[in-house]
Amino acid sequence: MKWFQIRKKIGKESAKKEIPDGLWIKCTSCDEILYKKEVEKNLMVCSKCNFHFRVNSAFYKKLLLDEGSFTSFDENIQTADPLQFKGYVKKIEAARKESSLSEAVITGEAKIDGRDVEVAIMDFSFIGGSMGSVVGERVRRAIERASKQSLPLLTVNASGGARMHEGIFSLMQMAKTATALNKLKTPYISILTNPTTAGVLASYASLGDILIAEPGALIGFAGPRVIKQTIKKELPDGFQRAEFLLEHGLIDMIVSRKNLKDTIISLLSHLC
């Protein structure tokens, strides 16, 4: 072990001891110990390195939508177990309890700066934001409502990919959502948060007219671990991060959380 690794290790261990529970949090990216209330005030962004902590769908609802304007749709669409996949029913029950959500996406209508919009906000805390039949159908219906009522569509994405437990049905949600977008003639803005990967990225999430990523978000098709195993090489620094995608011309912009709503408002005022 090199000296700086040792120092880092000791630093980490002592830091762990010093963090009083609940009051302080450590930045995942720069290791800075931060006063939790300050981080919350800063929209869960590290004041030192701009690291964007992962937040849930309720957070984005509050951040992006006009207060009290959200009407939820399709909550009654609930998870089934089409393959009778071992352990899936229990997994769903546990996820519902832990996240207080019915599935990995909330969809509905809302206002942004007074403008009606259709929204779909994913939630990573529900089985890693994975897309099964419920996510696919809720998103499809959101797309359909936006198409029929000529409303702009906003999606906020956070997903590890397809819901393996629903097998081929989860794969087909990529087809369901992506093909449905052909009928949408209104502006579609897609926000890619940390992480947006695999099946969700390879379908509706990357089909926005405008693609906005949060700083540092992991965005890619294959997981870094799988790629490393396949090519048997170390991955370059910053690989599959939002900045990497911007550099390679794959997304339109990176926007910090604090500027996200204003950016959306401005884009919609141009496009609508």
Binding site: I77, G132, L171, A175, N182, S203, F221, A222, I227
Partner: protein
Amino acid sequence: MIKHLDFEKPIIELHERIEELKALNGNMSGIYQTELKKLNAKLVKIRKEIFSSLTPWQRVEMARHPNRPYTSDYVKFLFKDWTEIHGDRRFSDDNAIITGIGSLEGISFVVVGHEKGRKITEKVKRNFGSAHPEGYRKALRVMKLGGKFNLPIVCLVDTAGAYPGIGAEERGQALAIAENIKEIAVIPVPIIVIITGEGGSGGALAIGIGDRIYMQEFSVYSVISPEGCASIIFRNQEYKKEAAGYLKITAEELKKFQIIDGIISEPEGGAHSNHEEAAKLVGETILKLYQELKDIPRDDLIDKRIEKFSQMGVYIEG
């Protein structure tokens, strides 16, 4: 050397004995004839026994069989006046996907298909059938040619998956797949999709959108490989056999789920035991499906195609 799977061994051995006996045909006396008849009958019986009771994992092995016919084989046996088309006109020509135009019973088809490659040099050239974004972009470009010039399209799906690599990510693997799915859905000509081997997740779906989806008898179609599923669920790839069962990836299961429209039977012993016969059966299905689709007004065709995928999924609506 002919490669074969473990469970094919009894068939191979019997086959060899029959061939040996035939080699002695200089003086085919009654005794040899009777023995030959007996062995042939046994071969039919054993084949039937083995192939009617394959486990899900054995079906995965069949779908990945090294001698299984690939797109180039189907092209060779089915499509006359074949003209291959190369490149995505953006980055390069991805040899993991073959695209071109050929004629089947006098009808010109655009053909798009994965190609795994037979010999090792060929496999490397084809990247084992795992495409990069430029492969999917080439496929879309050539399928749009079909749309423009009113040529029906056949897609032959056989891939372990889209390639997970640095270049693939740099050039937008996920974006290429998403764009294909969306844009293929509105190409205004009949599209027939046939899973001929491995239907590997997004890499399969990227050329898997069509009006009719068929699977060959011993092909599989899955959201994740059994190995991948096993390593996530059991943290151990050794459970791939169990995972293959859980995932429900065989043609019969997917037909039951109404994910696919039909199954194309394979010659005795699987497509790899007789490429020409396998191709014949695929060709007949293509022509039958083309007849079903060719007169549907183009707007209806597209609406129905999108509707088809909008129906897929199982949920409870309370």
